[in-house]
């Protein structure tokens, strides 16, 4: 039984923020949901995909975020309601299309849901997507708790349809991934019919063509829509004030920071001194509402993540309002009361408020702080970012690293985002030397590969995952082939979007809803582009090494090596060992062997550990995934493998 699908109106449930959003989308009557996997956003599409049949939905994991946006927009043009879900960087990918979509307007309600990751808990950036709302000139909403996450999604769809503009609703990790109590609403009857009308008057928003041109007309129409949105925002129930009539300090906040601010005020016990204006509609700001609250006091603290977005907009507004309401002091990130990087927490808000109010309060007593620091430092084992036991990436990087070192020409690898990002760290033998957005490794390699006339002699390699290959690496590969760049691209194909939870991609036979899908063969795709392509199993170290050497030897043009081996955590593999591994303690000479603990010092699969007492290496049965690679790493063959018959 799935609560999202069957939960009754009025019933209360503990829902994850992303589930609340998914339920809100259902209540808002969507027909289509598209997205690209990315933490912390993935569960929204996943939850909807699971119940797509019961609710007459079309749910898709798209090839990339731009395409996802286009797929969702098509639904809207056909007068259906839709959402597009992505993580913060995804919005950059989609932004080119979005700039046009903002101008062209929509028909059926369409909401973009970017889930930001303040503190980069599972990202390598903490981009703040709210700026896109201002850039694109589209209304921005930010739910402040779990109930709002659901309710606001529904409202956003309705508002979008009414105003005929796409709307952005931004979530953050602490909202998307935490759970809270949510009272469910009604699910609508489905029966929406798709039709794209295009034969009416050219500029007719419902019957004409959908385009952002003529720009002057469309742009001013867009600004009109935004003005209308502000009118709605003035009375929106998502903007709330709690606190005394005339507070000493007004906290203006949004999103998860609402929860931190509430907690801070509770802990400081200053409910009668500090008021909270929680805004759910954060761009453009509802001017009248803000003015009314600014009037209440002289000091205002803005609490938000990550960069001072609301703060800047509020300061601008406060300046415009100054003749009416007087000059106010707005505090926040720009003056250092709160940090401009990383996520916030109640302690940081406590610090800011107590400083402003002159309260002696240390959020974390020093003794406690140093005590816990010491305890965690000495007590908890060091946990680094490492590849899982049996991870094919470890084997792939082993080969790539060895070949580049032996080739001895200072060759290097350009990488991008995926589990294989760990290739920058010791677990991937520090093999990756550049690390940027999806597909960028190959694009950067393509550029490096053209620098021979400037004296560059180093071999240039790139890596990308199978999902990334389709997402953004293909254009880079086309570029490299077309421009005769000299590169070797290694596709680390672990047959799924492993990092975000095995979502399907175009290289697989199933789609988001689990149905039959057409599988695109990466090898054929590369070959048809004109690249020299080989495949190898990364667990076959000898063959992989040989092919890599061959590719480096073939100096000119684009070479692609597909290293295919299913992720160790994939549902097919999980818990099944290929080999039973054992260290022959009589052969492992430990410290006396010249290997200087190659297996546990360099190769470092967590399935192996150093038995200090015996001075030998040992297999950790519980952790070893039975991939068998370490038996080939050990120079004296002290690690044996026995095939497991299944």
């Amino acid at each position: 039984m799935n609560i999202l699908s069957t939960g009754e109106k009025g019933s209360r449930h503990l829902l994850m923020g992303n589930e609340a959003i998914a339920r809100g989308a259902l209540e808002g009557g969507i027909s289509v949901a598209a997205g690209y996997p990315g933490t912390p956003s993935s569960e929204i599409i996943e939850s909807l995909a699971k119940i797509s049949k019961d609710h007459h939905l079309y749910v898709e994991w798209s090839t990339n975020e731009k395409v996802a946006m286009e797929v969702a927009a098509a639904a809207s043009f056909a007068r259906l309601r839709s959402i597009c879900v992505l993580k913060q960087n995804g919005l950059n990918v989609a932004s080119d299309f979005l700039l046009h979509l903002a101008g062209s307007g929509v028909r059926g309600g369409m909401v973009i849901i970017p889930c930001d990751d303040p503190g980069a808990l599972s990202s390598i950036n903490e981009g703040d997507t709210r700026h896109f709302a201002r850039l694109l000139e589209i209304p921005l909403l930010e739910p402040g708790d779990f109930q709002e996450a659901k309710d606001m999604t529904k409202w956003a769809l309705e508002l979008s349809e009414e105003l005929q503009t796409v709307i952005m609703m931004r979530s953050v990790t602490r909202l998307s991934h935490a759970s809270g109590s949510v009272v469910l609403g009604d699910l609508p009857e489905f029966g929406a019919k798709a039709e794209f009308r295009h034969e009416g008057f050219l500029l007719d928003p419902n019957e004409g063509i959908v385009s952002s041109a003529p720009v002057e007309i469309k742009h001013s129409q867009q600004q009109e829509k935004v003005k209308k949105a502000v009118e709605k925002f003035e009375t929106s129930p998502f903007n709330t004030y709690t606190g005394p009539e005339s507070p000493e300090l007004l906290v203006i906040t949004s999103s998860a920071c609402n929860l931190y601010s509430r907690e801070a005020i509770n802990i400081l016990d200053v409910k009668d001194r500090v008021g909270i204006l929680k805004l759910g509609t954060t761009w453009p700001l509802p001017e009248k509402l803000v003015a009314e609250h600014l009037k209440k006091c002289e000091k205002i603290l803005i609490v938000e993540e990550v960069i001072p977005f609301m703060e800047e907009n509020l300061k601008m507004l406060a300046q415009e309002l100054a003749p009416q309401i007087g000059q106010k002091t707005l505090m926040g990130k720009r003056d250092g009361y709160l940090p401009m990087v990383n996520e916030l927490n109640p302690d940081l808000v406590i610090n800011a408020i107590s400083k402003i109010l002159g309260i002696e309060y240390q959020a974390v007593p020093e003794e406690y702080a140093t005590g816990t620091l010491q305890k965690t430092f000495f007590g908890a084992p060091v946990r680094e970012w490492i590849f899982c036991p049996g991870c094919p990436h470890r084997a792939s990087y082993w080969s790539i690293n060895q070949v580049l070192k032996l080739d001895n020409n200072q060759g290097f690898v350009c990488g991008d985002i995926g589990c294989y990002t760990i290739g920058t760290l010791p677990s991937g033998f520090s093999t990756l030397k550049t690390l940027h957005s999806m597909g960028s490794g190959t694009g950067i390699a393509s550029g490096f590969g053209k620098l021979k006339p400037f004296g560059m002699k180093q071999p240039v390699l790139s890596v990308c995952g199978d999902s990334t290959f389709f997402h953004a690496a293909m254009p880079a590969l086309v570029n490299a082939v077309h421009n005769k760049s000299d590169i070797t691209m290694v596709v680390l194909d672990n047959s799924g979007t492993a990092m975000t939870g095995f979502q399907p991609h175009p290289g697989l036979e199933a789609n988001a809803e689990g149905n039959d899908a057409i599988k695109l063969d990466i090898k054929s795709v590369c070959e048809s582009m004109g690249a020299y392509v080989k495949e190898s199993d990364p667990f076959d170290l000898d063959n992989t090494r040989e092919v890599l050497f061959e590719m480096l030897e073939k100096k000119d043009g684009v070479k692609v090596l597909i290293l295919r081996q299913i992720c160790a955590l994939s549902p097919e593999k999980k818990g099944k060992k290929m080999f039973e591994m054992a260290v022959d303690e009589s052969r492992c000479k430990g410290e006396k062997c010249g290997c200087n603990r190659l297996c546990t010092r360099i190769f470092r699969c967590p399935g192996l550990f150093w038995n200090k007492e015996k001075g030998t290496s040992k297999i950790d049965e519980a952790i070893c995934a039975g991939c068998g690679i370490c038996s080939e790493i050990c120079p004296i063959g002290a690690i044996s493998k026995k095939e497991v018959t299944q």
Binding site: Q402, F549, G594, I633, P635, I636
Partner: protein, 347 residues
Amino acid sequence: MEILGSKELMEQVRSKGLCTTCGACVDICPYHQSHKGRIALTFDCDIAQGQCFAVCPQTEFDANELSELMFQVPFQNLPLGHYRSVKSAKATDKIIKGNFQNGGTVSALMMFALEEKWIDSAVLTGSKELVPEPVMADSSEDIAKCGTTKYMATPTLSLVNKSAREGRKKLGVVGTGCQMKASASIRSNPMNKDEYKDAIALSLGLFCTWSLDTREFLDYLKSRVGREQVISMDVPPPPAEIFVIKTENGELELPLSEIREMTQEACATCPDMTAEWADVSVGAFEGKPGWNTVIIRSQKGEEWVNAAVEAGYLVLDDLPDESLDHLIQGAGNKKKRADNAKHEEVQ
């Protein structure tokens, strides 16, 4: 001498361009590895004292200790190193026919040693599709296949390490001066490791003025000979100033100056022309094509040559005085050049 580790080997030798590609450090452990004529460190190793550092011919060494070990005399800085006698020699028809560089003396001595069980295997340098590679020869046929000089630096001694790990003993090693110095160090067993005790029974040195960077020369070679089969390469005696490549289709003469450009960096400061740390050293006899110059150095070397002559593998002749003078002069010149180059480096 203080024995240090891999880190210091990298700092003192490899990163300074002083590695001669001898191969003595290769395959001891998983860290020093070779590929196509170049030695690489695959991962850092932090062991404080290593066989790699201990046997590298380019780290500091105690010449007296090594001289006592090999020749039972203190070290004297002579142009030709320590020797008992210098002769000319060539192989006889008794040995298996092969494509030999000069008189086939090297091959004949190794065949004798193997057949008469002075050694169990020979560590030689063969080639595969032009790329020189270390070869473990277990029969005279194998030895014959390794004939002719590959003028490219090859990590031949890596095979000594591999065999030691496999428990092999009594190897006969053929190599250039730097390789002989490393072999002598291996014989001194500085780390006192069982696997290296008596690992090398005989060392046969080759005269050497320079060795080419394998990768550079291979690219050059391919551009000159294309797909033709290379039969041999030779540097005819001065004043010819040419490098001759014999292929299936005839001979190609190339300017020696062009070839010398490709010399590996370390050779510039090498003072050893006649492989001073070997039991026996062999070079071309410049006055007499088809013959070798042979420097008999150790007692064991003398016994070895005499036994090979007695058994009919080899014929010996005296070396004319002017040839010896010429050799001494040549060897002295190499030492001077090396000294100057070292000086330049310092400045």
